[in-house]
Amino acid sequence: MFTTLIEKELKLVLSGKKFIWTFSISAILIILSMTIGLMEYKFAVRNYESAVNLNEQALRETTSYGNLFMQAHRKPDPMQIFSIGVHNDIGRNSNISSFSEIKLVNSAYTDDPIFAVFRFPDLSFIVQVVLSLFAILFTYDAISGEREQGTLKLTFASPVPRAQYVLAKLIGSWLGLMAPLAIPFLIGILILLLSGVPFTGEHWLRMSLFTGATVLFCSFFAVLGLTLSVFTRNSSTSFLLLLVIWVATILILPRVAVMAAGQIITVPSQAEIEGQRDGYSKQAWNEYESLMQKSWKARNVEMDGMNKAEAQAWREANLWQWMLDDEAAREETEKKIHAFAARQNEDLQNRKAMLQKLALTISRLSPASAYQLIAMDLSDTNVNLKSRYLALMQTYRKDFLTYREKKIDETGDKGGIRITMDSDAGLSVVTGRDKGVLDLSDMPDFSPKISRTDHLYQDVIVNMGIILILTFLAFTMAFVRFLKYDVR
């Protein structure tokens, strides 16, 4: 009985014109979005590789450790094909040097705003907006439509158990819905494989989780359609109600959540942060300068009362120490500024994390944003991508600077120029000695790794759990209600 019911429902769905159209639209959209995602990924990889090459070339041309300078680049990940997330919004690289803080600059969208004008919907967007709509289209008239056509009355004239009927309805239309989702998706994966996207084992795990989340998300809307069709008498009413719910969950709730969170927790703008940092650094250099003036004056005072030869001898004896002192004071100032920036950065990150947490918690009420979060987590393009890279680059900066300092100490080559003035010997300038090509074989590399935090899968599971619970809830309601549905 049960299989007959499912078969009947499936046949009904598959033979309908609705099916052909939804199938073709979703096939076009899914395959197109994956192909365009692929093109964007390849473009990003090309950019990344050429930038890394240029950087290496610059390193090869550097002739002094003092002038050693690095640029660390964010590496694109093939999972971005499924959900682009913030990948194009945040900077692609940062300078690594002792005199500048880590800052991600040159985002794809600031470089070429034309691509920001016409954003392409990625796969997760297509699923969220288009496929959820199709899911509704498949089930909005599941019960109320049959009632209107009178077939419901006919069916229950024979002893068909209601529980089996409603379950069969759901499974039948669910199977019908899976076809326009699964077939194009598999074709898309095939295209990705054929074009040589380097997927690792981890990627496959993520991809299967993504697929699972997508199926779950579409199922939620299919069940929701069924539920509403049980709660209404007319299919047109259920369709309109579903449309309203759809707009609210997909378009309104996620955005309102973020805006509300933004009102509750205020985060200072980047410009304000930079302003504070500028201010601090200007003050610090100001202090450094007055310190220098004082110590230079003190040194002159020591030499008071000496004759020329004595003063000269005294100066020569102490010059090295003085230089070391000045240098130490300068380094001290640089470190102080860096420490301030680090403190301030930590503060900012904490506030931002709070804002994000609040926003995401509110927005999870909508299965659409729960799904979006899963997709971005798995694609490694979520809101934390930036802070994660900042942390990676901070660590790298430390390693790089230690290496640089070590090398400078070993070779005694500071890079800049040294000027000595003397009334007898005149003025002489020593510039950094040209050492030819540097041996950089032991220089630490910046190798961005795909994040593998325990939180990631935990978050994904929690979000999937939310959608699952909502789906169950909706189905239970439909089930209970249908047992008492007036089939006339």
Partner: protein, 469 residues
Amino acid sequence: MIKLIMEKELKEIISSPKFVATFAVCSALILLTFYMGGQNYLLSVKRHSAAIAENQRQLGGLTDWAKVRTSRIILPPQPIEALVVGVSNDIGRSIEVMGRGELEAVDSRYGSDTIYAVFRFLDLNFIFQIVMSLFAILFAYDAISGERERGSLRLVFSNGVPRDKYLIGKLLGAFLAVAAPLALLILLGCLTLPLMGVHPSTGEWGKLALIVLSGFLYFGAFLTLSIFVSASTRKSSNSFLILLVVWVCFVLILPRVSALLAGKAVDVPTIDSISSQKMRLSAQLWRDDQRLISNFRPTSKEMEKMGQEFQEFMQELSKARNDKSMELARQLNEERTNKRKLQESWALALARISPSATFSIAAAKLADTGLALETGFLKQAYLYQKVFADFMVEKTGETFDGRHMIIKMSDSDETPEPIDPLELPVFEYQARPLLEVAAAALPDMAVLFIFNLIFFTGAFVRFRKYDVR
């Protein structure tokens, strides 16, 4: 006669449950857009003034203008930006101005607050482009084919109703049924702005009115398109599905594909390659100069004069280096800018095949959040740079490129007077005036109007020969 048909259509739509649902959705969306847009604007203003105040504060306590060296300018938020977001959150909004050299806008809003980048904002562009076009389809997909199915078309034409009048009546009725409540809602939304404490200027109200007008033109385009398709099909379910496909193409596919095609057609050099070339040149120049510097021999033997001579020599070299670097940077940037402009114009031209893209281009132009925002901001920043450089020369006698630190020695023990931060020239961003943006957006609005004409003509031609049975 037209009036009668129009009235009938209007009544039919307004009394339908479809209308109630769409109206509810629309009011929620529009009121939220205005409310959140207003709140968002206020928040941005707060953040903007905090940043300005911070910049002022950091100058306090300094005693020498030479130590100021740079000035940070920020693109201030505009009220209308929150209603039509455009690229305003994607472009850099802050520039560190030095006395000379290249300027670069950094810190886009989406880049620094990634949470906003994920869910984006609700704005009028989104509402019109996606939601209103769907509603247009929903209200008109069965305008002709649906009436045929129900048999009412046959009934109507058994009386002596001219077909052209019938079509126009249908169109006007459907248009009014949606446009009038929508206009009312938008008006209501506009009222909430002053209540929240957001006060757009007259020019901005004018821009907003033009944006809404373009929105209605766009809505009209989809409405006439729907009637056209409906007059070309026998069954309303067919026309609905065809329209859905067309909608997906116009709204989702065409605009981005055009940008991609333009990207393929015009190869714009990447920022990375440009900055690498610049870096290599400056490293090369520095190496060359190092040789000159080590060979430097002062003519005088006196300490003071020697120092002075050396300083002048170094200044000269630095200036020459800077000039050469700037020349290369200018060339590279010019090349990139030209290529980028070409790419952009290709992308925009191709995208205009879709009314959705045309509308969003027009709306962004009118709100001054289109691609011109970035170039305009930079242009004004360069003007400010001149003012700033002049000011610095007046105060300190030189300009700085922001990289070098200068330590001045003074023998006097008295503490110098602190500088007055208020003397620093203030950057005031001038938004493009109403007339200018209107002139820029006029061609796009005309294209939208032409879409209306084409679709309507199509509908008319098809309907004249439509088999009403």
